[in-house]
């Protein structure tokens, strides 16, 4: 049984073990997650798509406002089901439930722990991130083959945001400090991602900055999936992979520092 333990970094058995813990917990609260994942896009589409779309905005870049917002909201769903659960979940498990003490007493290293948590959140957010697209279809968005890639796009981006959340949780002293992160990082990035209004109407500085916003890249990729890809989308996907890889290393290093004295 133990002959191979510790022989390499990132052992699949350790990662699978940590993920199985998450799955066991998820089975107790999946209903709430599914409920809000379905309801939230409906609320947004009704408020923005029908309200704003019917009264103020006719369409954007040749798309109906429902098509525009419905595709854009995948990014919203992805960040809110990755960064926030990672921040709160990690902090609670580390600080209040002492879960990680028990996990690290088993043959699991911090790097495996962080990787497993990221993978689990990534899979979950990749799945629930597709819900806005499905809801938008009910409101008239036409299906397209390219949309089959949306779970992959959501997963890749969510990995990075999960890592971001873990790194934040490993760096703050108190849970209240999450407010700064939400207000200063998450909300601005979520608003200036081209979800609700197109970026090209912003001043040029913002447009350049938006290219560094992973959520903007995700929004563009999802619109590519729905309405036709362009060559630049490969670059967009590569940037999301790079984003997630960098944040992964930061999360591992922050968490190792927090967990090992």
């Amino acid at each position: 049984m133990s002959s191979e333990i510790g022989a390499r970094r990132l052992e699949p058995a350790a990662i699978a073990g940590v993920m199985s813990r998450e799955v066991a917990n998820f089975r107790t609260y999946w209903r709430g997650t599914a409920f809000s994942s379905i309801l939230e896009p409906i609320v947004y589409l009704l408020a923005f798509g029908l309200g704003l779309g019917a009264t103020l905005v006719n369409g954007v870049d040749g798309l109906s406002y429902v098509e525009f917002v419905g595709t854009g909201m995948v990014a919203t769903a992805v960040i809110f089901s990755s960064a926030l659960p990672a921040m709160f979940g990690t902090f609670v498990k580390e600080r209040f439930q002492n879960t990680y003490d028990a996990v690290l007493a088993a043959p699991v290293d911090p790097e495996e722990l962080v990787t497993a948590e990221m993978l689990w959140i990534g899979l979950r957010a990749g799945f629930f991130g597709c819900f806005p697209l499905l809801i938008a279809m009910a409101f008239g968005l036409d299906p397209a083959w390219g949309m089959l890639l949306v779970p992959l796009f959501g997963f890749t981006t969510a990995l990075g945001w999960a890592a971001f959340g873990i790194a934040v949780a490993a760096s703050v002293a108190k849970i209240d400090q999450f407010n700064y992160v939400t207000t200063l990082v998450i909300t601005p990035l979520f608003l200036v991602a081209g979800t609700f209004f197109p970026i090209d109407q912003l001043p040029e500085g913002f447009q350049v900055a938006a290219n560094f916003n992973p959520l903007y890249q995700l929004v563009e990729l999802v619109r590519g999936a729905a309405f036709g890809f362009e060559a630049v989308d490969l670059l967009r996907y590569a940037s999301l992979v790079a984003f997630s890889l960098v944040l992964w290393r930061i999360a591992v290093s922050r968490m190792t520092k927090r967990l090992i004295d």
């Binding site: 510790g6 073990g17 199985s20 066991a24 002492n98 003490d101 690290l104 043959p107």
Partner: protein, 303 residues
Amino acid sequence: MTGTGEHPNAIEVRGAVKHFGAITAVDGLDLDVRPGICLGLLGPNGAGKSTTMRLLTGQAIADSGELRVLGHELPGESKIARSKMGVVPQLDNLDVDVTVEDNLAVYARLYRVGDVAAAVERCLQISRLTDRRKEAVDKLSGGMRRRLLLARGLVHEPQLLLLDEPTVGLDPQIRTELWSLIDGLRARGKTILMSTHYIEEAERLADEVAMMHHGKIIARATPGELIRKHVGRETAEVYGPPDRLAELRALAESDGLRVRPAGPAIAIMGAERSANGTIPDDAVRRAATLEDVFVLLTGEEAE
């Protein structure tokens, strides 16, 4: 690497030092635990017991010194060592919304047990929770949760078990229940390192007691030997006004006896060796205990 020949001890610590900023939590610790014994690591709060436990599980890295668990050198081979050792934490960290059996199954997977279902059954029996297996942990009583926590640490049939203050903060009844469970493990030959600051726990469960103070072991032997060596057979406790106690203390000390405060009283140790008249008639004579040793050596009153 397997360590049975060259390193016969389950745990070997040589000169371990661990600082946290200006605090030296572990200060040149030497500690050997032979296979098959239950060693009680007894010390007041802040003695360095928890840090020692964390060093052994690789959750703290020693600044200097050598540590070996089941023949594996730490921290380099800590992961292999962890796969063969069970840890029961001081604080309950079960997953409270998850069922009893799923809690066990998750840890069976974390410890890479081949037959998860069989391991779960075995642990349900150990914790006597077979009929509660489908219930969420937060529906269990405090005693049941503690039994589950202990059983979880045994899910991979470890060679070595670390118990960190296994009964701290528990009701006396739950404590007794847990003691029986631990005693059963000891009887079956498991190697156990148990930290505690409860004298009675050490006395009841430990084959040997190592007293820890300021980050090092200051005495180690069987409870009986420690008592005989440091305090003798009999202790006499005297209650009374402070003046009288001070007088009696001086008298006993001039007689070569050791005296310690015991709450409102003084305890005169080695009373069987006293000259006539040193011990007043109203003193309560009792058999010497580990507590006498503990207070004498650490200067701190125990629980």
